[in-house]
């Protein structure tokens, strides 16, 4: 394991410390917790607070999206491990100013259970809390008999849209309605070129041969649906856009937003090349691309690879995506 860290046990604590010390104008930390909140919390007085969180290792998600127009607070768990209910509850209390708090949860058993327990705690103190469980990763078969789909990079679109709505004064119920409305219209699929190593584990979650890629991996090294030889960018795009289109069944003229997300070790150069091919393919399908974003937003430590998120939008949603945001990560 080759990482710039000290004791693996301290990595999240030192990371959060480095983060808030680097950006005091943006972020504050609740001492001795993994909770990071807006330094300018007074600006959302009377508005709904938006809280997200999950395991660490996905930076800039989630703390990097705390700030005006996105999250009010983020809860950083251990690496790839859901944060605990008491910390989530601290975040809820910190950002509630009477209008309630909305939780954005990624669909992993751990996250769902811990956020649920936190929600129970908030209920007992009469704080209004609602939530959405994001499950945008189409690599996994969806079935009511299983855990269902994972929450991955599309979660960032959820943060952005809900954060903009909250800043514009939407009520807790309105935010819940908006979240449920957009949820089925956000879908993501990934391809990995290498695995990632959790500091405390010390070895990669999976390994790929020098010429091998894996389609459909998750953001914690969850296995995907197929391995094959490395393909040119255009061929990756055929596969990934194809899978997404199987789900969306797009018709010509539909409006979409697109996120090309680097998994951590993939240079922006490759991400832009890939986006160029994606846009060509979407043109071919006759879609209207209304919003585009490229970068490392939902990473998986030092994994090499890319995920592609398509979000079926209307003009209002595009406005939310373009809404002025003051965060370090967006």
């Amino acid at each position: 394991m080759k990482k710039i860290i000290n004791d693996p046990k301290d990595v999240v604590d030192e990371m959060v410390q480095g983060l808030v010390r680097s950006y005091p104008d943006y972020l504050k930390r609740i001492p001795e917790t993994g909770v990071v909140y807006r330094s300018d919390l007074e600006k959302i007085k009377g508005k709904v607070g938006i809280v997200s969180g999950g395991g660490s290792g996905h930076e800039p998600t989630h703390a990097g999206f705390v700030g005006n127009g996105m999250l009010s607070a983020a809860v950083c768990g251990e690496v790839f491990t859901s944060p605990t209910p008491d910390q989530i509850f601290e975040a809820i209390k910190q950002v509630d100013s009477g209008a309630g708090v909305f939780l954005v949860i990624k669909n992993y058993s751990g996250d769902v259970m811990n956020f649920e327990m936190a929600q129970d705690m908030a209920d007992m103190e009469d704080i209004k809390v609602k939530s959405i469980v994001v499950d945008d990763d189409i690599a996994v078969e969806n079935s009511t008999y299983t855990q269902g789909r994972r929450g991955v990079a599309g979660t960032v679109f959820m943060h952005k849209v809900l954060g903009a709505a909250a800043d514009q004064g939407a009520s807790l119920d309105e935010i819940e309605e908006l979240a449920q409305k957009i949820l089925p219209n956000i879908k993501t699929i990934a391809v990995a070129l290498s695995g990632a190593t959790v500091p405390e584990v010390g070895k990669p979650g999976f390994t790929l041969a020098d010429d091998e890629i894996e389609y459909g991996v998750g953001i914690h090294g969850e296995p995907g649906y197929r391995r094959e030889k490395l393909q040119p960018s255009k061929a990756l795009v055929e596969e990934l856009v194809g899978k997404l289109n199987d789900e969306f069944k797009f018709e010509k003229g539909e409006k979409v937003a697109v996120l090309v997300n680097g998994m951590g070790a993939t240079p922006l150069m490759e991400q832009y090349v890939f986006m160029n091919d994606v846009l060509n393919k979407l043109d071919e399908l006759g879609l209207n691309v209304e919003f585009t974003k490229v970068g490392n937003l939902m990473t998986s430590l030092e994994m090499a690879g890319i995920s592609l998120t398509i979000f079926r939008v209307n003009d209002d949603l595009v406005n939310n995506l373009n809404y002025a945001t003051h965060t370090i990560g967006w």
Binding site: T81, S109, M117, Q147
Partner: protein, 190 residues
């Protein structure tokens, strides 16, 4: 009938195995999960031991409550709320009768995780354990068998569900740690 000292011994036994088997539990979690189950449990049990060692407790429910809170606030992931809820439900029983405690723990795990038997989770250990304990028949062999039974199951809950059929052939890590917990109990009872 467990008393406070029995519960402390139980936790000591469990902590010993967890620290010893930390890497093994994470290894079990690697092919079908995210490789952290050993770390999660080790972190949690460290907190539990810090919270109960050399501390006085008025009764069994209060030590269970302390254990529950330590696990809930230190483990995170899936196993934290599951084990935390199990101990919280045991605390609600109000006494140290294992015939009531184990079913309560199982009920808590089921409520929290919504898994049913056969989904390749810790439920597949707690369910037979709960039945056996009623007949005074909970044994190391019985527990091992339940743990082992998860090997051939297809996971449909938790992270392991993402590998689908490929989960077959691997023991579920949470089932393994639950097995450790129950065997630590047998050892504490003498």
């Amino acid at each position: 009938m467990l008393n406070v000292e029995d519960v402390k011994k139980w936790m000591e036994n469990f902590d010993n195995v967890i620290q010893e088997q930390r890497a093994y539990l994470s290894d079990l979690d690697t092919p079908i999960g995210d490789g952290d189950h050993g770390n999660n449990m080790a972190r949690g049990m460290e907190a539990v031991m810090a919270a109960i060692t050399d501390k006085d407790f008025a009764d069994v429910p209060s030590i269970f409550k302390t254990i529950a809170m330590s696990l809930i606030s230190k483990v995170g992931g899936a196993s934290g709320p599951l084990y935390g809820t199990a101990f919280m439900e045991m605390a609600k029983i109000g006494n140290g009768d294992v015939k009531e405690l184990i079913p309560a723990a199982l009920a808590g795990i089921e409520k929290r995780g919504k898994a049913v038997p056969g989904e390749k989770t810790m439920v597949d250990v707690w369910t037979p354990a709960s039945a056996l304990v009623q007949k005074d028949a909970l044994t190391v062999e019985g527990i091992d068998q339940a743990v082992e039974s998860t090997k051939e199951m297809v996971a449909t809950k938790g992270r392991a569900s993402y590998v689908g059929d490929r989960s077959v052939g691997h023991i579920d890590p949470g089932a393994m740690s639950s097995g450790y917990l129950l065997k630590a109990l047998l050892k504490a009872e003498g």
